[in-house]
Symmetry: C2
Subunit: 111 residues, 2 copies
């Protein structure tokens, strides 16, 4: 068993995006065989890229307020929400509040 | 994309355990192809079963205070902790605080 607090994990900025920090908590380094648990922090006004890819997202919103882009436009998300993004569906997440938006996002191994 | 708040999901009690509630947020019903995102609430003093199985757990602690059983005994867990339980490793989680212990637990499809 490996226990670690997310705050002890080094953060990276996917695609160099300002105000978006990703922490890989459980993945290949922990010898997890199937999927990867990542922790995201989006500063106020910041967003992830709008894109689509072959893998799914399974998300839990920890705190903050934001919006999720779907084919139907943006929909509100908040703490306690779970979000399923199927494979190949275009999506984007942005922080529409004044505090950080934090969520867990699980994906399969993609490398 | 499917967005739902965990509080809107019906809860079940794994193995009929008192004070342990599981909500399956994303799984086969959502046509998720690979893994299942579940939300657990343990009331004060309550615990999950001590067991081992072929599948891994990838966990994020949302709120509360508890302890995780490993081969080395119980270790403290709290909000912001991530926990990786490898396949076939004995484990158990219990609430050692006075408020509910809540966590996300992701597993592969097991049925």
């Amino acid at each position: 068993m490996i226990i670690k607090n997310v705050q002890t994990i080094d953060a990276s900025s996917p695609e160099g995006l300002d105000g978006v920090r990703m922490r890989v908590a459980i993945g290949r380094a922990e010898e997890a065989p199937r999927f990867v648990l990542r922790h995201f922090t989006l500063d106020a006004g910041c967003a992830t890229p709008r894109h689509a890819h072959w893998w799914e997202h399974e998300i839990y919103v920890i705190e903050g307020e934001g919006e999720a882009y779907t084919g139907d436009g943006f929909k509100p998300i908040c703490a306690g929400d779970t979000i399923y993004v199927p494979p190949d569906e275009e999506h984007q997440f942005r922080n529409s509040g004044s505090a950080p938006l934090k969520f867990i996002c699980v994906i399969p191994h993609i490398d």
